[in-house]
Amino acid sequence: MYELGDYGDYITAWCPGCGNHNILKAVKDALFKLQLPPHRALFVSGIGQAAKAPHYINANVFNGLHGRSLPVATGARISNPELTVIVESGDGCHYGEGGNHFLAAIRRNVDITIIVHDNQVYGLTKGQASPTSSEGFITKTQPQGTHNARFNPVQVAVAMKAGFVARGFSGRVEHLSGLIQQGIKHRGLALIDVLQPCVSFNKVNTYGWYNQRCYILSEGYDPTDRNQAMLVSEEWGDRIPLGVIYKNDRPAFEDHFPVMKLGPAAMRPARLDTLKEIMESFS
């Protein structure tokens, strides 16, 4: 039996009031409720304020390069299909620098849970527009307001038939913890886009802004209905839906490889007898 405290209690480098604090709380709560042993979980992150989160959790950690957390996480699953792999990074990391990996990971449907701290701004580099910034969002590097259309990760994931697509809000910790628990339990890729205020660099999408708009999808909502999910994922502006927006039961990437049923790669000897036969086929 693990206590909540077993998942770590660290002093963070985040601003007071930052949405990251509540996301961290929700992640630990989810691990605790699932009673996931810390040494059986691997957190992979990139670079950014959000990517520091794994340092504040007791678990295995690989804090790699900006945008490249998903390939590392995929590699981890290839090696050890018994590890619970959770990817945590920001919107810039996943949807900007790592955009190609985001699309590829959805297509692969690797059994990982992606938690995106989506604050619609670059925090670590002090306030440039991110892929999810709204059009017209003014920053020091976009003084006329960003001209780029807002990237809608949830709708892209639904369009690509990702295995599990959800949206949470850092202001609703218990709801978010529930989404994370479902995401971890889902066999295949789970995307949880988490709306999160940046109190230092995003003066538009504040707690008040989100609180006014976010609503939790009703219990009658059917996340397996993709047409409806496309409509719901389109919704943004006056009303923003939270919850599991779409899911399906596509086989996970790992299910295609018989060898993965044999456990972690490090525990399997090299098959030199087979290799000798292969070598003989060259003669």
Binding site: V61, G75, L83, N100, M260, A266, M267, S283
Partner: protein
């Protein structure tokens, strides 16, 4: 003098069946006991264009391709036009009657009357094997094996066509001097550099291979993909090269020795990942098959232009090892070594070849598969009773290793002490990011200490020839064979010549290399690039300035003839 060997060129358009003809003929030649060196020249297209496959065969061991042709097998007119000028005296051209080229010296084969259009290349195998005087039963058996695998429904027609070609050739005088019969080959492999790298990686216990296709590295991936399932290996085509190396690092971090095959452009994209492997101290092996750059360059030709890039790629300072095999056999052995060193020191290692060696078939004795020390085995030095330190400061710079989710005994982890933390930021011993600048210095020193250990495992240079030579040829990587044969010829001309070849180009043992250079009267660096990158490396490391270079950068492989001519002794009466 050149050994008693033959050069056969098979030329035509892509899609004409050149591969089938070449593969069967080459394998039959190897099975007959000959040694071979194959060079492939192809254009970056699937259909059309001019492609050629040049096979040098010899009853004795050979190491390099040669210029000049003895037999041209022309699948189209262009081959006749392009390659007839390369024919040696008494050289012959074999072509299809339908090509309508009138020349009494050519062997014009009426393929249409021997076989149907579909099977003409099997007939051509029969004709050429007849000219060479290969044992018919070996040729038929080789062709049967090939077709059973690639076209089982038409094996019978193919063999019939082959025999028809062979019979047509019987009794025809060609004036062609056949090679002497070789000693039996005893199970030699017909294998190229890329395939040898694939087998080397599998034999080293590689469990993950991540790649993005790029000529001329792709056939490493193809070979591994073909055997992945039965070898229990995961081979994954990544969305790009950045993903490939990061995926390999993730796989290695969790316990799979990992390989990333690529070429220059892809390797450029991997530079940040290479640096990540250095910082997180994650072993990864990169197979870098070079082609001429910059940028897209000549995608299907050969060059050794990426040496300095491989030595320096990736920002920041971190230890690495770079290997450059000089033969197909070394491709196998040094790939194993690259895995061993990467694992032992927890660093990235690079194995550098080029299009020539990647595609170069040779007749190789079977590789020894004696088991290496188990790679990536869990580390008994890790104590389960105290918190694990991923980057524990040690005298060697190498820290005990644990894989996430596993214990030191390589069973599933059972204690929360067994947490592995790795960070691309500068980090504490535990693995958490830090800005404590005294920790920074200790970590830099720790990583750099691996260089001392690396230096104790350097592959010795190959030295061949007079020990205090008048002329010393210096080379690295794939040019070894050409330099070896050139050196033999120089000695036959009466010159006190020798060569030194480095199959590990980083780190190098500067004292022993300087000793070799010091003993020579004159030194010439032989490289397939335009700026003598290796000579510059040796100057930096040993202080010796090599004044003369033989540099080839027209995209073609180095040959003994090219070296002799550039050295300027070709016509000198020594």
């Amino acid at each position: 003098m050149e050994k008693n060997s033959l050069n056969i060129l098979i030329g035509g358009e892509a899609g004409q069946g050149l591969v089938t003809l070449s593969q069967i003929l080459t394998r039959a030649i190897v099975r007959a006991g000959y040694h071979i060196i194959v060079t492939q020249s192809y254009q970056s297209r699937i259909r059309g264009g001019h492609n050629s496959y040049t096979l040098r065969l010899c009853p004795d061991e050979i190491m390099a391709p040669r210029e000049g042709l003895d037999i041209v097998v022309a699948l189209n007119k262009e081959t006749v036009e392009l390659h007839s000028p390369e024919l040696k005296p008494h050289g012959i051209v074999v072509l299809d009657e339908a090509l309508d080229i009138k020349n009494a010296d050519h062997i014009t084969v009426p393929f249409n009357s021997l076989t149907s259009d579909k099977f003409w290349n099997a007939s051509a195998v029969g004709v050429v094997s007849g000219i060479l005087g290969l044992d018919e039963s070996v040729v038929v058996r080789t062709a049967s094996d090939f077709f059973a695998k690639h076209a089982p429904d038409s094996t019978e027609e193919n063999i019939k066509s082959l025999v028809a070609g062979r019979n047509w050739m019987k009794g025809r005088a060609t004036g062609f001097q056949k090679l002497k019969q070789p000693e039996p080959g005893n199970g030699r492999l017909m294998i190229n550099g890329n395939e040898a790298i694939a087998l080397g990686a599998l034999s080293a216990g590689m469990k993950a291979m991540c790649f993005y296709p790029m000529t001329p590295a792709t056939s490493i991936a193809i070979t591994i993909c073909e055997h992945a399932e039965k070898m229990g290996v995961i081979a994954e085509q990544a969305e790009d090269e950045i993903s490939a190396i990061n995926m390999a690092i993730g796989a290695s971090f969790c316990g799979s020795p990992s390989l990333v095959p690529t070429s220059g452009g892809g390797f450029s994209l991997m530079a940040e990942g290479l640096s990540l492997a250095g910082m997180t101290e994650t072993p990864v092996v990169i197979a870098l098959a070079q082609r001429p750059g910059p940028s897209t360059g000549l995608p299907t030709r050969t060059e050794q232009g990426d040496l300095e890039f491989a030595l320096h790629a990736g920002h920041g300072e971190f230890p690495r090892a770079v290997f450059a095999p000089g033969s197909v056999d070394e491709c196998f052995r040094l790939t194993r070594k690259a895995f061993e060193i990467a694992d032992k020191f927890r660093i990235p290692t690079i194995i550098m070849t080029d299009q020539f060696l990647a595609d170069c078939y040779c007749a190789s004795d079977p590789f020894t598969m004696d088991e290496l020390d188990p790679i990536n085995a869990c580390d008994p030095e890790v104590s389960p009773d105290e918190p694990f330190l991923t980057y524990r400061i040690t005298a060697t710079g190498v820290s005990p290793r644990l894989f996430p989710g596993l214990s030191h005994e390589c069973v599933v982890a059972h204690s929360a002490h067994e947490l592995v933390i790795a960070d691309s930021d500068e980090h504490t011993e535990k693995g958490h990011l830090t800005e404590d600048l005294s920790v920074r210095v200790r970590m830099v020193d720790k990583r750099n200490r691996k260089n001392d250990g690396l230096k104790r495992h350097i592959v010795d240079p190959t030295f061949c020839g007079n020990s205090d030579p008048d002329l010393l040829l210096v080379c690295w990587g794939s040019t070894r064979g050409a330099v070896h044969e050139a050196c033999d010829e120089l000695r036959e001309m009466g010159l006190r010549a020798a060569y030194v070849h480095l199959s590990q180009v980083w780190p190098i043992d500067e004292d022993s290399v300087a000793g070799i250079l010091r003993a020579a009267k004159e030194i010439v660096s032989v490289e397939s690039n335009s700026t003598a990158q290796f000579a510059r490396l040796l100057r930096r490391e040993t202080g010796y300035r090599i004044e003369r270079n033989v540099l080839r950068y027209d995209g073609l492989p180095m040959t003994p003839e090219f070296i002799i001519e550039k050295i300027g002794l070709g016509s000198r009466n020594v």
